[in-house]
Every structure is written in C-alpha cells, then in structure tokens.
C-alpha cells in the first residue's frame, strides 16, 4: 500500500476526471454551495443543517474531533464530494476512525464514493486507526454494497433508528472494517523475540 499522495486525479466509471485534494479553509464558500445544492433527502442524513453558513463554518474548523483527513472532489472549481475520516481526541476510542462520504447526486453510483473511502481508509491506517466505522440507512442498498466491497462488515443494525423526510422510521446499519490485523503483524515483528517470521 502506497502512502496517500494528494492531489490526485481519479477517473470515474463514466470517464469523468475528478481532482481529489485535501480540504482547505478557503474551500468554505464552495463547500457551503455544495452542501446547499444537495437534495433535501441527502442532507437529511447529515449531522448538521448545512444550509446554515455558521454550521458549515463550524464543520470547516471542526475541533471537536481529531480530523485525520478531509478531502474534496473537484471538477472545474465545483466541489462534487466531501469526505473525511476522524476520531476522538482522547479516551478509549482513539483507535476508531469514523468515515463520512457525501457525493453530489449527479456523480453518485460512479464509484467515486468507493475511491474516496479507500483513500481515507489508507490515511486512517497511516494514522494508526485500527477500526473504521461507517453508518448508513438500510434503505441505501448501493451504499451498503459499496461498503462491503471495500471490506466493511455489517456489525450492527439499530432498528427504527433514523427517519426519512416523511417521518417514517428506518433501520440504521453500522458497518466496521477492522484493520488491526495489519498492526498485529507489525507488533510481532518488533517483538525482538523470535528470528522466525511468518508474514
């Protein structure tokens, strides 16, 4: 696995080239526009009301989590995706990375979410993350399939946990991707105990 090197250009399934780069503070107006243009049903699953510029500003300067990496997808200056992996600053779950990926409706189902997910998982592993967490409504069948293709396993289902725009309750699927085995091998390697290595 190579270190994550940004910026990079990705080619989507339909041949569209997208620039992927780290999100910077100067992106705030473009990020705000991106969020505001999301369909209401997509925005409904976010943590904040992203049509509020103050909320978007707080998202940009997020200091409640340790943001391991945040990236954007950009085509001709337009942001078409926002993705991040973050973890707690302190405590018993600093080894857990939470993955969040949002792609503009007109670029969904082109494999871009998977590209961003893999990139951020690699960044998380580099930062010492042992387990990556992703959540989605069980209605999002394509998202769940994409997570499984990346290596995630469905670890839990919270019944009637999320609502849609009409107020109907849906299940929330919690997916995890345990990458700790990678570090178990490294730990064995630095044990200085046996000259026989089996990796």
């Amino acid at each position: 696995m190579e270190p994550v090197k940004l910026p990079m250009t990705c080619v989507l399934k339909d041949g569209t080239g997208v620039l992927v780069r780290e999100m910077v503070r100067a992106d705030e107006p473009a990020i705000f526009k991106f969020f505001k243009e999301l369909p209401l049903e997509d925005r409904h699953h976010l943590r904040n009301d992203v049509t509020d510029p103050v909320r978007v500003h707080n998202f940009m300067i997020d200091d409640t989590h340790d943001r391991v990496m945040a990236v954007v997808g950009e085509i001709d200056g337009r942001i078409i995706a926002s993705a991040e992996i973050d973890r707690n600053h302190y405590g018993s779950m600093t080894h857990i990375g939470q993955l969040r990926v949002i792609v503009a409706r007109d670029f969904q189902h082109l494999g871009f979410g998977t590209i961003l997910g893999k990139l951020l998982i690699n960044a998380g592993i580099s930062a010492g993350i042992e387990k990556v967490l992703a959540e989605t409504s069980t209605e999002a069948k394509v998202t769940m399939l994409g997570l499984e293709k990346m290596g995630f396993k469905r670890e839990a289902t919270f019944k009637r946990h999320v609502t849609d725009l009409a107020g109907r309750k849906h299940d929330l699927a919690v997916f995890t991707y345990d990458v700790s085995h990678i570090w178990d091998k490294m730990e064995a390697l630095v044990s200085d105990y046996s000259p026989i290595r089996d990796y």
């Binding site: 696995m1 190579e2 270190p3 994550v4 690699n122 592993i125 580099s126 930062a127 010492g128 993350i129 990458v179 990678i182 570090w183 091998k185 490294m186 730990e187 390697l189 630095v190 044990s191 200085d192 105990y193 000259p195 990796y199």
Partner: protein, 184 residues
C-alpha cells in the same frame, strides 16, 4: 569506505532487531554494498535486553562480530551504559534521548539524541519508534542512502503499514539532517 561496525541495543519489544535488519538490507540489497547482522535477545518476549550487531562494508565481510562499534544506536538506558564502553573513542552515539540518561562525563563527543518514542506516538503508533531510529541513523551518518533505506523499510514491514513506517522514517531522517546541518 572501510568496514563500519554498528551495535544497536535496546529492550525486547522496541524493534531493535528489525532496526538492524533494515539498515543491513538497505546497505546490501539497495546500496549494493556488503553487510551482515547478528541478533541476540533474551528469553522473555518483552522487556529483556536485546541487541543487534551490524557490519557494513564495501567488500565481503569475513568476521561478522562487532568488537569495537563505530556507531552505537541505543534505545534504552541499560543498553547504552552496557555498550558505550565498547565504542571506539571517536565513535558516534545515536540515542533515544527521553529513555537514555547520560551525564556530561559519559556523553561522547559525537552524540546525537532524538525523542524517537515521542515522535512515534505523535504519528499514532509507538511501535514505529525503531523506524524513526532507522531514519535518524540514515540522516545523521549517511551510511545508507535515503532511497535505499526507504526501500528497505517498505520491503521489511507488513503490508498495509508501509505509509506510517515511511512517515516514521522521514521524521527520524529529517530530524537527523537538521541536527547535523545545525552543528555545521
């Protein structure tokens, strides 16, 4: 370049032997020189003293044991005090400065310290402190090229851990270069 004798000492669990393996591999496989490495470790899985002897040379090495190290890489206080008397008077000591405590009288003229454990923790994994030390070794001594050492790191660590290990290497290498440049 003559043969260089290197002793790497520390505690089991710090990756002392991997550190020696990578330095030897960088020199022999990627810099196309000659090297040998001998390891010794205690019966315990962790915490016992542990050391590696590495020889680097331009010609085949007939005798693989380190007698008077030109370079001592020390990752623990005990290892430093155990092996420092063996080091040549003009030898180079590279040490983990937050684990090794030296009085002014004990400190050799050419001693370079690095907070390798803290750097590794800042990177997210304490266990890569040995790779920070490999980088520091390459940066200070120049005995293995950066490219060779990076290739040896990539080749020696488990799949998936390369990015963090390369970051750890770069951290140690850059820190070592800065110290050397500052010292003139």
């Amino acid at each position: 370049m003559a043969t260089t004798e290197i002793r790497i000492g520390g505690l089991g669990g710090q990756g002392v032997i991997l550190c020696g393996t990578i330095i030897g591999k960088a020199s022999s496989i990627y810099d196309h020189r000659h090297s040998v490495m001998i390891q010794s470790f205690g019966p315990e899985a962790r915490g016992s003293s542990c050391s590696a002897q590495v020889m680097l040379a331009d010609r085949p090495i007939g005798y693989p044991y380190v007698r008077r190290p030109d370079i001592l890489v020390s990752m623990s206080n005990d290892a430093c005090h155990k092996f420092l008397p063996e080091m040549k008077p003009d030898g180079i000591l590279l040490y983990e400065e937050e684990l090794v405590h030296l009085s002014d009288d004990e400190r050799p003229a050419r001693a370079w310290g690095i907070p390798a454990t803290r750097f590794a923790e800042e990177l997210g994994r304490r266990m890569v402190m040995n790779i920070v030390m490999v980088g520091f070794f390459a940066g200070v001594t120049g005995l293995v090229s950066r490219e060779a050492a990076e290739a040896a790191v990539k080749d020696s660590v488990p799949k998936g851990t390369e990015p963090l290990n390369l970051q750890a290497f770069a951290k140690g290498y850059d820190y070592g270069r800065q110290l050397v440049e500052k010292a003139g």
